[in-house]
């Protein structure tokens, strides 16, 4: 059993209430930080922990905090990104539903560290039940003196508000989120300036994912160095993985980074293997944006070693043979799934969610969706496959925000690793409408190049 830092008490009845959460050791981090630490001490512990942003980008949280500008007389803000909408990702919903106080406690610790007196939790609008849960948790914490004026007699004041989004994936991008929080369309801003200098209302702002903020609680409690002992290499601590698709036990799992991918998929503690006795065909390991890998490359590195659930191991081999940990949205496809159809579906998603600001993304995502649609429905041409690669390359890196890259990578990687399946759709359009391509050679052992 791996260590659980966030979900340790998930099965305790009433853990969603302040009282039970506190009985189980909750709000110790607030007491410790406000009574015994300076705000810089807290930032220092988070730096030492090696915690990396859990929303997808993996940027060190402590570093992000230390970049915050602190001009005199200007308010600073901590904004929690709870706009969870990356396909395959549902860990933040889980955490907010079951242990809302873990987020509230983290928000207090984080706001104190950054010197923010007003903080916002931007929750995607569809999570109305979670918004109610958080509002109740905030009210409970406030009634107990952990929010409001002069918290625990420390002289520190803090209010936390919950802001609903309106159903737009793009608002998970931090500057689009800030625009939305200001009551505008979610169009990402041109950077620089970064939010650390000019964020919400033009003031210095840190935007952190739900899980990153919650993870600061055990970091403050046990110390950054202790936290950094968990995990492997630069992938410290635990990570929530959202597991979905064709597995026996879909759900949210907290893992110690460094677990093997094979154990995660097949052990009973986690996914419990592929559902209905089928065989594994492919995995999207970190949310829909990251490159899809065939069974053989997700389980093993190109040199034959086991691939691990860590930032480094998942990205080993670059995009040629690797992928990314991303948000931890782990989507498993069995042998009956069609890669072309899945890629088309993801492309439609990105086309739908493009904010339309940058033409490569606005137009390119639509092109990719249409071309993939015609391949899937038996009207594709062989030249369409290279056309898709060409369009994806022209989107990648040419947009204000990473949505363009996020749209390009799934298409480029699907063709990179499953080109024969795309070609089969073009060559056998009637057959492709009747049945799927199947497992083919995607689970065969990798041919390891002999060292010279």
């Amino acid at each position: 059993m791996g260590r659980k830092l966030l979900l340790e008490h998930i099965n305790v009845p009433g853990i969603n209430t302040f009282q039970v959460y506190k009985e189980k050791g909750g709000y110790r981090a607030v007491e410790k930080a406000l009574k015994t630490m300076s705000s810089d001490d807290v930032v220092e512990e988070v730096k030492k922990s090696g915690l990396r942003g859990r929303g997808g980008a993996g940027f060190p949280t402590g570093m992000k905090w230390s970049f915050l500008a602190k001009p005199e007389g200007v308010p600073r803000y901590l904004v929690c990104n709870a706009d969870e909408s990356e396909p395959g990702t549902f860990k933040d919903r889980y955490l907010m539903t079951h242990i809302p106080h873990a987020l509230i406690e983290g928000m207090i610790v984080g706001s104190y560290a950054l010197g923010a007196n007003t903080s916002y939790i931007y929750v995607r609008g569809e999570m109305m039940p979670q918004i109610r849960i958080l509002e109740k948790a905030i009210a409970e914490a406030k009634a107990a003196g952990y929010l409001g004026k002069n918290i625990l007699g420390s002289g520190y004041d803090l209010e936390i508000y919950v802001q609903p989004g309106g159903g737009a994936y793009i608002c998970g991008e931090e500057t689009a989120l800030l625009e939305s929080l200001e009551g505008k369309r979610g169009n990402p801003r041109i950077k620089p300036p970064f939010p650390a200098i000019a964020g919400l209302y033009g003031c210095p702002t840190v935007v952190n994912n739900v899980e990153s903020i919650a993870a600061t609680v055990p970091i403050v409690n046990e110390g950054g160095e202790e936290y950094a002992k968990i995990g492997i290499g630069r992938s410290t601590g635990t990570k929530l993985i959202s597991a979905s698709g064709n597995i026996n036990k879909p759900g949210v799992y907290e893992i110690e980074l460094g677990l093997s991918v094979e154990d995660f998929i097949y052990s009973d503690e986690y996914c419990g293997g592929i559902a209905n006795g089928k065989r594994l065909k492919a995995v999207v390991a970190g949310g829909s944006s990251v490159p899809i890998l065939p069974a053989n490359l997700i389980l093993n590195l190109a040199n034959g070693d086991k691939r691990l659930m860590s930032y480094e191991s998942l990205s080993e081999g670059g995009f040629a043979t690797g992928t990314m940990l991303g948000s931890g949205g782990f989507v498993v496809l069995d042998e009956d799934q069609c890669i072309v159809r899945n890629t088309w579906n993801f492309s439609r998603f990105y086309h739908h969610e493009s904010c339309g600001q940058c033409s490569p993304c606005r137009e390119g995502t639509g092109w990719m969706e249409k071309v993939l649609h015609r391949i899937e429905y038996g009207h594709g041409k062989m030249s369409d496959i290279d056309l898709l690669v060409d369009v994806s390359k022209k989107i990648e890196g040419n947009t204000i925000c990473p949505l363009g890259d996020a749209a390009a990578w799934p298409v480029a990687s699907a063709i990179r690793h499953f080109r024969d399946e795309f070609e089969w759709h073009v060559k056998e359009p009637k057959l492709a409408l009747e049945r799927n391509y199947g497992l083919a050679r995607y689970a065969d052992p990798i041919e390891i190049a002999e060292e010279a």
Partner: protein
Amino acid sequence: MLRVEEVQAVEFSSALISKFDEIVSRYPEGRSKSALLPILHEVQAVYGWLSSAAMDKVAEYLNIQPIEVYEVATFYTMFFLKPQGKYVLEVCRTGPCCLVGAEKIMDYIGEKLGVKEGEVTADGLFSYRGVECLAACGYAPVLQIGPEYTFYENLTPESVDQLIEDLKDK
């Protein structure tokens, strides 16, 4: 039935206005436009959709131009710009849900209700539409129903039948 009559005249109740006031108090002085999305959610929860008259009223309340409300209402997919069924079944149609049968469930709902996506049933009770990832991939297939966005998970044709019957009896 359809609430088209409200296009002509919209008067927010005092209860709704005090809710707006509470929302505005969450932001710093001079930043009341931040209240726009939460306020639009409140308005839609009452009227079922956002008529231009309602949006104009919101603009008036926040002291901003009507276009500032329209551009937001048209950007975010949760806001309805025309009348809907009393219950809008919003079915997730993104990748992970489709791996476990979301497309079939959506077809089944269409057949069961006897309407196309986006249309309202003759009794005014139901409409349905496909929506993008709802961040509930582990419980797929899923659908949600506003204004409280209650979730229905691990859908089967039988559970859809039951849900529709329950809503009819409500």
